[in-house]
C-alpha cells in the first residue's frame, strides 16, 4: 500500500479519541505494527477503516451498535449505524497479550472465572469497569450459540445501561434433509428480523432505507460468491493459500458484510487462490499435511500457524469461523431479502454448526474432512466453551469411523496465554503429528 495512506492512518490513531475509545486505538496500533508497510492487504485496510469508523461516527453524531461475532452487519449499515463486532477486542488484543489484564480485572470484580464463562466476551466487562471499553449506543445479541455470550452481553447491558435487542435463534434448520428440519423456521426468523428493524427505527428515529438494504445485500452476495469460489479452490491439492487465508473472509463478512471493502477483500483472496491454482503454486511450499481445524484459532499465539507451516509443511485449510458457507440468495424482492437475512443468521459460522443438535457439527466436519482431502484434524477446544468441548469426543469418533483420519483434541484458552502456554500447545501438536500422523 502506499506510504502516504499508511502514515495517514498512523496519524489518525494518535488523535484524541476520548477515554472510551482507547482500546480501539490500542488495537489499531497493534494491527499496524504487525504488518510491514508494503504488505497492507485489502483485508488490513478494511479492518483499519472498520475500527477507525467508530471514532468517526462519534464525531459525526452517528450512533454505533455493538453486536456479536455471528451476525452480519447488513441491516446496521442500511440504517446508517456504525457496527462494532464485540469479539474484535478479545481477538484483536490477544496477540498483543492484552486480554490478560482485562480478564484479571474481570475476575477481580467477581464476574466469572476460568473456565466458567467464555473469555471471548469477559474482557469486555473488565475493560468497561476500567473505563476503556467503547460504550455503544445500542447493543444487539443472539441467544446462540452459547449461554456465555448471552449472559455477558446482558451483564454489559445492565452495567452500562444500554438499550438492547435480542433475537432468539431456533434450534432447528430449514434444510429438508435430516430429522431436524422445520419449515417454519425461516418465517420465525423473518418476523424477528423485522422486529429488530422496527426497534432500530425507534432507537435511531429513522426509517429503514429499503433501497440501501438491497444495495448492501447485493454486495453481500457478491462477496459470498467470491467466498464460495475461494472455498472451492481450497479443495485443490496443494492448497493455494496459507493458513491465514480463510479467516480473512470471516472478518470481511462479519465486520463489513455489505460494504465495498468486503467485496474487495473477498475478491482479493479469491484472486490469489485462483491465480495460485492456475500456476500450481502452493500456499505452503512442499505441502505435506492438510489440517482441519474445526474450532477457533489460538488467538494469542500469532506465530502458531507459521510454526506449523515451517516445521511440518502443514497447512490449516480453514478454522470453524473461517469456514463461511452462507449461500448467496435471491434479493430480487423485499421479501426475498428478508428471507436471505433470516437464512444468513441461521447459517453463520458457529451458529450453523453449533446451535442445534450435534449432527449439524458432525455433518460439517465430515464434509470438511472428505471434500478438502484432510490428513488430520486438530480440535483446540476452549475449556469454558461448553457446547463445543462437550461434543468434541463424539465428533472425533464419527470422523475416525467414517474416514480413518486421526483427530487430536486438547483443551486450551485461545484468549489467555497463561492457561495453556504456547510451548505446551506446540508440544502436544508436535507429538500428535510426529507420532500419529506421519
Amino acid at each position: 500500500m502506499d506510504i502516504e495512506k499508511f502514515n495517514e492512518y498512523k496519524k489518525l490513531t494518535r488523535g484524541n479519541w476520548g477515554k472510551d475509545l482507547s482500546m480501539l486505538k490500542m488495537m489499531t496500533v497493534g494491527l499496524l505494527n504487525q504488518y510491514k508497510e508494503d504488505e497492507l492487504t485489502p483485508i488490513m485496510e478494511m479492518m483499519l477503516n472498520y475500527l477507525l469508523d467508530v471514532p468517526k461516527a462519534r464525531k459525526e453524531g452517528r450512533k454505533f451498535i455493538m453486536h456479536p461475532f455471528n451476525y452480519g452487519p447488513e441491516i446496521f449499515y442500511a440504517m446508517d449505524l456504525t457496527p462494532l463486532m464485540q469479539e474484535t477486542y478479545s481477538v484483536g488484543l490477544a496477540p498483543l497479550r492484552l486480554n490478560e489484564p482485562y480478564l484479571d480485572l474481570t475476575n477481580k470484580i467477581g464476574y466469572g472465572d476460568n473456565p466458567t464463562v467464555c473469555n471471548a466476551q469477559r474482557p469486555l466487562i473488565g475493560s468497561y469497569m476500567q473505563g476503556v471499553a467503547p460504550i455503544p449506543d445500542l447493543l444487539f445479541f443472539l441467544s446462540t450459540p452459547c449461554n456465555s455470550l448471552a449472559m455477558t452481553y446482558q451483564v454489559f447491558e445492565q452495567l452500562a445501561n444500554i438499550p438492547t435487542f435480542n433475537i432468539d435463534i431456533p434450534y432447528w434448520t430449514y434444510d429438508k434433509v435430516g430429522e431436524f428440519n422445520d419449515d417454519q423456521v425461516i418465517d420465525y426468523m423473518i418476523t424477528q428480523t423485522k422486529e429488530l428493524i422496527s426497534w432500530l427505527e425507534q432507537q435511531t428515529d429513522q426509517k429503514l432505507n429499503l433501497e440501501k438494504l438491497q444495495e448492501t445485500m447485493v454486495k453481500v452476495n457478491q462477496a459470498r460468491q467470491y467466498i464460495l469460489e475461494f472455498n472451492e479452490l481450497l479443495k485443490t491439492v496443494p492448497c493455494p493459500v496459507n493458513s491465514q487465508g480463510a479467516f480473512g473472509n470471516f472478518i470481511s463478512m462479519v465486520g463489513c458484510g455489505g460494504t465495498d471493502a468486503a467485496v474487495k477483500s473477498t475478491k482479493y483472496l479469491r484472486d490469489i487462490a485462483a491465480t495460485n491454482v492456475k500456476n500450481k503454486i502452493a500456499g505452503v511450499p512442499d505441502e505435506k499435511i492438510r489440517i482441519a481445524w474445526p474450532y477457533t484459532h489460538i488467538f494469542f499465539d500469532g506465530e502458531l500457524l507459521t510454526w506449523l507451516e515451517e516445521t511440518f509443511q502443514a497447512v490449516v485449510i480453514m478454522d470453524l469461523l473461517g469456514f463461511y458457507q452462507v449461500l448467496p440468495h435471491d434479493v430480487s424482492t423485499t421479501e426475498k431479502c428478508f428471507e436471505s437475512l433470516a437464512k444468513g443468521a441461521l447459517d453463520f459460522s458457529m451458529i450453523g454448526t453449533c446451535r442445534g443438535p450435534i449432527e449439524y457439527y458432525i455433518d460439517f466436519l465430515l464434509n470438511y474432512v472428505k471434500d478438502y482431502k484432510i490428513d488430520c484434524v486438530i480440535m483446540p477446544m476452549q475449556f469454558a466453551c461448553k457446547h463445543a468441548y462437550s461434543m468434541a469426543r463424539v465428533s472425533s469418533e464419527a470422523v475416525r469411523e467414517e474416514t480413518d483420519v486421526p483427530v487430536y483434541i486438547f483443551g486450551c484458552d485461545p484468549y489467555d496465554s497463561r492457561e495453556v502456554t504456547s510451548e505446551s500447545i506446540r508440544g502436544g501438536i508436535s507429538d500428535f503429528i510426529t507420532q500419529v500422523v506421519l
Binding site: 473456565p115 466458567t116 441467544s143 435480542n166 422445520d182 422486529e195 462437550s390 463424539v394
Partner: protein
C-alpha cells in the same frame, strides 16, 4: 414432623409408583427441564419423570465425553444413563435449556441411546412472536408423541391434564404459604422431599397425597424454631441433604427460587385459553431461570418480593460449578443485594454433595452473622 411415608418412598427414580405404572404396560419418559410442558405426557397417559442422578458417585465416562470442566449434573446423568441405570425409561425428552443439557442429549443419543428421544426448542425470551413459536414447538412435540406412542392427544384431554397440574400448583403454593408464618410448621428439607417425590410419581396421586399432607400439617399444628429465615436461590437442587445442613445449623429455609421449587409451580396455566395457547404462555412467561435473556429484572423483583413476603433474613445463592448461566446471574443479583443491604452467602457446589464440612463452616458463619445483626 415426618412427611407422609409415600413421599419418602417416591423419591428414587425407580420407585413403587413407576413400577406399578410399568406393570400396567404404560410408558415412562424422563425429562430434563421445567420448561417442558408435562401436561402433554399426562394427557397421553405417559408418566413424566424428572431426570435426577443422586446415586452417582463418580463420573469417568461423563468426564471423558463432556469434559471435567462442565456441569456435574449433566456428567452424572450421562454416567448413570451409560451404566443402564435408567433402563426402565421408555425414552427421554429434553429441551435446549442450556449448553450442557443440549450436549447431554447429543451424548446420550450417540453413546447410550434410549428407544425414544425428542428435544424441543424453547425460545430464549418472551414476546408474542416467541410465544407463537413455542406454540408451534409444543404442537410438534404433541405430534411426535402421538406418532411414536400411538396415542391421540386432544384438546379435551389437554384441558383435563391442565386442571390436574394447576391443582398441583395451587396445593404447592398453599404449602409454601404456610412457611410465611413466624414459626413455620414444616422445614425446607421436608418441602424439598415432597417436591422431589412429586417429580417421579403420577401427578394425580401426588395431589391426593399432598392434600393429606396439608391436612396432617394443619392437625399437628407444629411450629419450628430457628435462628434465621433463609431463601435459597439456584438451579437444579434436588438434594434435601443440602438444605438439611443449612437447617441443622439454625437456618430455616422458608422459600426459594429453584428449578424444582417456586419456578416449577408458582404460575398457573390460564384455563380460559385454548390448551396449547395456555401452555405456551404459561411455560414461557413463568418465573424464569437465567436462560431467559430478558428476564433478569423480573427475577430480581421476584427475589425482592419473596424476601419481603416471607420475611427472609438472608439469601443463600447456590450454583453448580461451571454453570455459565448462574454465575453471571449471581453477579447481578449480588449487586442488588448489596445495594439493599440484604445479607447473602454464595455457595458453589458439585451435584454430588461432598465437602460438607466446608459448606457447614460457611453456612454456620453466615448464620452467626445474621444472628449478630
Amino acid at each position: 414432623m415426618p412427611i407422609i411415608e409415600e413421599f419418602e418412598n417416591s423419591i428414587p427414580l425407580m420407585n413403587p409408583w413407576v413400577n406399578n405404572w410399568k406393570n400396567e404396560g404404560k410408558k415412562v419418559l424422563g425429562y430434563f427441564c421445567s420448561y417442558i410442558p408435562e401436561e402433554i405426557f399426562h394427557s397421553a397417559d405417559i408418566l413424566p419423570v424428572r431426570m435426577r442422578a443422586r446415586e452417582c458417585a463418580d463420573t469417568p465416562m461423563g468426564d471423558a465425553y463432556m469434559t471435567p470442566t462442565t456441569c456435574s449434573f449433566t456428567r452424572c446423568c450421562l454416567e448413570l444413563v451409560n451404566r443402564k441405570q435408567y433402563k426402565f425409561l421408555d425414552g427421554i425428552i429434553s429441551c435446549n435449556s442450556c449448553d450442557q443439557i443440549r450436549r447431554l442429549y447429543d451424548n446420550i443419543r450417540y453413546k447410550a441411546p434410549f428407544p425414544y428421544h425428542y428435544i424441543m426448542g424453547v425460545p430464549g425470551n418472551v414476546s408474542d412472536t416467541t410465544i407463537d413459536w413455542f406454540k408451534h414447538e409444543i404442537t410438534k412435540l404433541i405430534q411426535h408423541i402421538e406418532q411414536n406412542f400411538s396415542v391421540s392427544i386432544t384438546d379435551e384431554k389437554l384441558n383435563k391434564s391442565i386442571k390436574v397440574y394447576n391443582k398441583s400448583r395451587t396445593l404447592l403454593k398453599d404449602l409454601y404459604m404456610l412457611r410465611k408464618q413466624n414459626n413455620p410448621p414444616i422445614t425446607g428439607t421436608d418441602v424439598m422431599n415432597i417436591l422431589t417425590a412429586g417429580t417421579s410419581m403420577p401427578r394425580d396421586q401426588f395431589n391426593e397425597l399432598l392434600e393429606s399432607q396439608l391436612t396432617q400439617i394443619a392437625q399437628e399444628n407444629n411450629s419450628i424454631d430457628y435462628k434465621s429465615r433463609i431463601m435459597i436461590i439456584g438451579s437444579m437442587l434436588d438434594e434435601p441433604e443440602f438444605i438439611e445442613i443449612i437447617e441443622n445449623l439454625g437456618g430455616l429455609v422458608v422459600t426459594d427460587s429453584l428449578c424444582l421449587g417456586t419456578r416449577y409451580f408458582w404460575d398457573l396455566v390460564d384455563e380460559t385459553l385454548d390448551p396449547i395457547d395456555g401452555l405456551a404462555k404459561r411455560y414461557l412467561s413463568k418465573i424464569s431461570c437465567p436462560r431467559m435473556t430478558d428476564g433478569h429484572q423480573k427475577r430480581e423483583q421476584f427475589m425482592m418480593d419473596m424476601i419481603k413476603d416471607f420475611n427472609v433474613d438472608g439469601v443463600i445463592l447456590e450454583r453448580m460449578k461451571f454453570c455459565a448461566l448462574w454465575w453471571p446471574e449471581i453477579f447481578l443479583l449480588r449487586n442488588k443485594l448489596k445495594e439493599t443491604g440484604i445479607p447473602s452467602l454464595e455457595l458453589e457446589r458439585e451435584y454430588i454433595l461432598s465437602g460438607a464440612g466446608a459448606m457447614k463452616t460457611r453456612v454456620q458463619t453466615f448464620i452467626e452473622v445474621l444472628e449478630s445483626r
